[in-house]
Subunit: 110 residues, 2 copies
DNA sequence: ATCGCATATCGTCGATATACGATAAGTCCC
DNA sequence: GGGACTTATCGTATATCGACGATATGCGAT
């Protein structure tokens, strides 16, 4: 790791969030959590074509990125999205894309 | 690649796009390209704290994800965002986040 | 206390990502 | 053609990812 800083905290943070989302299994999990009114416990494993331990790792990745919260609920664990974190990511992404469409029609070059 | 399918093409495609964006250097590059009316040639390397070959690899990653176009322009190469591809990614991300805010106030559990 | 279930963690493996320097490939100018 | 410049690619080293099975942990029921 050759001097990992050199980029802004903001960019590193956004990159981490994007990395957390950048996997089909984790996208599926996020969608699953988003489309529920209730928190989801065990069903996540059943809905993915992956081993239980693998799903647990993906959930851990999402938790570490702060996008998902998990609370122990009896003998199982209950997951739901962190709405604020997700909103923050959406904000950051929107910010990224903002300048875009002003300069879109400049196809004089490429 | 242990049976990579099992997820939808859509999700794999979105995951690839997110992965392409999920690095501070590539975020920086995208922002750089977004904030320009003109295409950018050599200056990208100067604006990043990375070796020229590394930057070239990041640009290649963005090109392979279809987010960036590069055309040889004289003795240098000219890069710009692909507005349609970026718009498509934004669409896909918005779709991901859409269901979110209806079910946000369900914090009865987590 | 013990059994059974749900989840987490560990250890491991192959694949991929990230970085660099060195070198190739292309273009312009002389 | 020969040099100077810009970008791409190669080779390589290290780190991280993604998957799995095996095992640990925690809880509820018996």
């Amino acid at each position: 790791m050759p001097v990992t800083s050199a980029f802004s905290d903001t960019d590193r943070h956004l990159a981490d969030a994007l990395k957390a989302l950048a996997h089909p299994a984790r996208l599926t999990i996020v969608r699953l959590l988003a489309n529920r009114d209730e928190c989801v416990c065990g069903e996540i494993v059943d809905d993915l074509p992956l081993a239980q331990s693998t799903v647990s790792q993906h959930l851990k990745a999402l938790k570490e990125a702060g996008l998902v919260r998990g609370t122990v609920e009896g003998r199982s664990t209950c997951y739901c999205l962190d709405p604020e974190a997700m909103a923050a990511v959406k904000e950051a992404i929107d910010g990224l894309f903002d300048g875009l469409f002003l300069s879109a029609p400049n196809d004089n070059c490429c």
